[in-house]
Symmetry: C2
């Protein structure tokens, strides 16, 4: 039955992941951004997202210190900036200055909202799990800021305009991608299979 | 400074999410699949993924019962099947039969590997968090099965061939998307910004 299947081993073959930038104020008082792909939504009520961070990272201590952080969603046109934020440490480099980004203090948290990203959520730490190489942090969303130009005529977020990054870790060449064509409406296209068998 | 920004409220504006299918053997002994978008990678060592499931769902009790489950990644050509799996409950419907899918008992877990999906990870429950509407489950990956036709010539997973689903919850029309064009190589395109102030 497993014919044609190959066991790639104990690997996190989950595709695609988002790319987010976790904003904190570090010990030096400077706004900082960590690029994270180990991230996702994890609860609807309260609305919450999970990000997973290595304990060695500068952002890890900042999250535990303030217990507040932002999770920003960059546009695919900003993948160079996102990549840069994953290559250097906020201990050594003022990433926002290097990337030409503007930090504004959050209205609900002591964490930086970055003006240039389409979306930025202000989050409060409500849970965590020590897993091994990474600690999983759960952030309850206090506010989701979006730049008005990414809204559609009904006032909803427009994914086409936003053009977030889809990431493909664990593949041949780890790569950032845009989001492509529609593959159907959710809670809709599957109805065709209902009532069968 | 917040000029042009709109606070959409306490909402999980994280884009894109993956769409995965969580495979379990239910109380009735039948293989079942739950469609989940609240999911992501959360640890590298041990390799682990998180899925978040409402306590009312049939899959929730199956995960707690067996403490083993699969996380399958469908292709965007299978979005109708993924959607269907989110519309009905395994309590009432044999989803695999309805969707023409084949379950094979895992080689590392008591959970179903589904033949027709490009990727299927066998996972063991290693942690959980009660969050509210959802419980977050962490699964350590014991094996990542991939169909040989989704490998590139070097034997790595090929995202282009796989064509996973990128989901856009919380947007105007919640929609499934394909993964689009390259937006650059990771740990690479950001180097241009290094060395700058």
């Amino acid at each position: 039955m497993f014919e044609g299947k190959k066991n790639m081993g104990a690997k996190t073959f989950l595709f695609p992941t988002p790319i987010v930038l976790c904003g904190t104020y570090g010990k030096n008082g400077r706004a900082n951004l960590a690029a994270l792909a180990w991230a996702g939504i994890c609860c609807s009520e309260p609305p919450a997202v999970q990000i997973s961070v290595r304990p060695s990272r500068y952002t890890h201590e900042a999250i535990l210190d303030k217990r507040e952080f932002t999770v920003c969603v960059p546009s695919s046109s900003q993948s160079k900036i996102a990549d840069f934020c994953g290559l250097v440490s906020g201990r050594d480099v003022d990433k926002l200055a290097s990337a030409g980004l503007t930090a504004m203090k959050g209205q609900f948290t002591d964490a930086p909202v970055v003006a240039e990203f389409p979306v930025c959520m202000e989050c409060k730490l409500i849970g965590s799990l020590k897993l091994g190489s990474h600690d999983l942090f759960v952030g309850e969303v206090a506010a989701a800021w979006i730049d008005g130009k990414y809204l559609d005529e009904k006032g909803n977020a427009d994914l086409r305009k936003l053009s977030p990054i889809a990431y493909a870790p664990m593949t041949g060449g780890a790569e950032y991608f845009t989001v492509g064509e529609s593959a159907g409406k959710s809670f809709s296209i599957g109805r065709e299979l209902m009532g069968k068998k």
